[in-house]
């Protein structure tokens, strides 16, 4: 382990000797976090103008129903011209005109939709009838009662943000592991390692340790950002455990990829090319079974989905998979072992005397 530690420190010294490159590599996951926060915040509600002809309690109740629909960002306007201008200037997706007799039999709500694309237009088409239903809920003959599986509901932003922790480990581990080995080949310094009286496994261990520590810095940066966003893991030990396991898996795979490709220019796009699709099919927005079956089937092969589930469990106490907690941890442990074996095998394959 003496040589492994020396190799790890040498790698970290090289990383620190190039502060800009180090910051860029470590901060990559933060970019994803910012992107997803913008996505969650920007895509959450739809701006609409509401022009009410009357001012009675029925009108106020309907506007209240709109505001509580989880869909509309209500902007009151006084005239039809103002509503039209808001649509023309892309400041609202729809204008909703409430008649004076809203709530009376056969009253009609006029809706003008800026149907630039189906996503936002369908939000209006779905949510307005729901608001009407909500408005009449007290007098409807059919009622419903909500029973929640969990005592609290994670916010969409909070749910996505926790998934970013996985992408930080995924991209960070692949990049740090891959670049650390590829750099040795590109600079010819691999000879210094190959000609040293140290076993191959200790070189791999050193590279893994350096990749682990480098990627951990990025992952901790994301964790700090999550704390600032209000995420408070209720099971810290579980959170730390899954972080360590997933980091080992991807640092190992990174070292393996670096050994096989020997080029930083190739490692970089591959880390993103492999990492991002894996991330997107692995339930960053909800349970994988809510998506397409093929994607869910593919996601089950890789460790990312189990990592996502374990992080959500550690953060919110929720479980997003149909695989049990114990089985998921066993799969993660299996991937860790597989990653270790793969990194050693690929390094030996690249360097063994042939």
């Amino acid at each position: 382990m003496r040589a492994a530690w020396a190799i790890a420190r040498n790698d970290l010294a090289q990383l620190l000797a190039q502060p800009v490159a180090a910051i860029v590599t470590v901060a990559v996951p933060i970019n994803f976090l910012i992107l997803f926060v913008l996505f969650a915040v920007g895509g959450g509600v739809v701006p609409v103008t509401v022009r009410a002809a009357g001012h009675g309690p029925a009108t106020a109740a309907f506007v209240h129903a709109l505001r509580n629909s989880y869909t509309f960002d209500v902007q009151p306007v006084a005239t039809a011209a103002q509503a039209a201008r808001a649509i023309a200037s892309q400041n609202s997706v729809a204008s909703i005109a409430l008649p004076r007799n809203v709530g009376a039999a056969h009253s009609t709500i006029a809706v003008t939709i800026d149907n630039l694309n189906a996503d936002f237009a369908d939000d209006i088409r779905r949510a307005l009838p729901l608001a009407v239903t909500q408005f009449y809920r007290g007098v409807l003959p059919l009622q419903w009662r909500e029973v929640d599986s969990y005592p609290a509901t994670a916010t969409f932003l909070g749910f996505i943000a926790v998934s970013i922790q996985t992408v930080a480990l995924l991209i960070g581990g692949l990049l740090q592991g891959g670049l650390g080995v590829a750099r040795e080949w590109e600079g010819g310094t691999i000879k210094e390692l190959l000609l040293a009286p140290v076993p191959g496994w200790s070189v791999v261990a050193g590279k893994l340790l350096a990749a682990f520590l480098g990627a951990l810095a990025g992952a901790l940066l994301v964790l700090v950002a999550l704390l600032l966003l209000g995420v408070r893991p209720h099971a810290w030990a579980e959170y730390a455990g899954v972080m360590v396991l997933v980091l080992i898996v991807f640092a190992c795979l990174g070292v393996g990829i670096g050994s096989a490709l020997r080029s930083r220019q190739t490692v970089f796009p591959l880390a993103f090319g492999v990492g991002l699709p894996l991330f997107f099919i692995s339930g960053p927005f909800g349970a994988i079974t809510w998506g397409t079956p093929a994607a869910a089937w593919a996601a089950r092969i890789f460790p990312v989905v189990y990592a996502n589930a374990a992080f959500q469990h550690a953060a919110y106490g929720i479980w997003t998979l149909d695989t049990s907690v114990g089985a998921s941890w066993a799969i993660l442990a299996g991937w860790t072992l597989l990653g270790l074996l793969a990194s050693v095998w690929l390094y030996r394959r690249a360097t063994v005397a042939h």
Binding site: A6, G187, L194, L195
Partner: protein
Amino acid sequence: MSEAPAIEVRGLVKRFGGFTAVDGLDFRVERGEIFGLLGPNGSGKTTTVNMISGLSAPTAGSVAILGVDPLRQAQAARRLLGVVPQETALYEELTAERNLRFHAELFGIPARERPGRIAAMLELAQLTDRARSRVGTFSGGMKRRLAIARALLHQPALVYLDEPTLGVDVQARRVIWDYILQMKSEGRTVLLTTNYLEEGERLCDRMAIIDHGRLVALDTPGALKSRFGSSVLELELEAAPAPALVAALQALPAVREVAADGERLRVSLAAGAEVPRILAEVARLGGSPRRLNLREPSLDEVFLSLTGRGLRD
């Protein structure tokens, strides 16, 4: 092991698919000698050295470094060997001192001995004042000196230098030669590859010439030249030499070959040739030399006589 030669290569063969890179090499490097491995690009030099250093496994044959098998006893062999690769293999982003410290750590030099040894090596490389400078800021000669210092840090018994002066200026070349000679004076065995005859002649006790993976010749530089090459007397005359002059020179003892090219004469000499007598003969037959040059044969010429092709073809 104490009686084993520094390097012993027996029946060494290396094939890559259908291509034979090294084809039955046999040679032995004695302890304390500087041994040169010469040959054109693609001749099998690097493959041979890779097998000697344990980076490549022979297809057939055997290699031993001071009696140690570099593949089966890899770690022991690596402790005996200090390597100065052609591309230096230094960490360019790190300082000179950090590069040496990393090498010391890899080779298990005790922590208490490291500062002293590193300081001594930096002094040897004349880089003490640049110890904390990044290697990326160094010239080619400085990098080569640092690479030599690094190779010597763990005090190896055998040092291998791959094209040690390729691409460095004349002044740096002299310094590196002095280092190599110093290694020999300290009792180390030195194996070097080179394309420069001057380097081989100045440094090597013996040289092996390799072509197409085969050993073409192995001897001291002087013996190689006397066996395979000639000293060359080049004359530039006032006028083109008459055929009679060329024929008369060719008939002189110890003259191997006379070639005329316009006003120039190129006379290849064997051992024992008498230059004053040749010049007298030129004068006697009406030749009037304007310039003359007596030089040793180039490695290309030695190599040409051995293989029928130039060193850098």
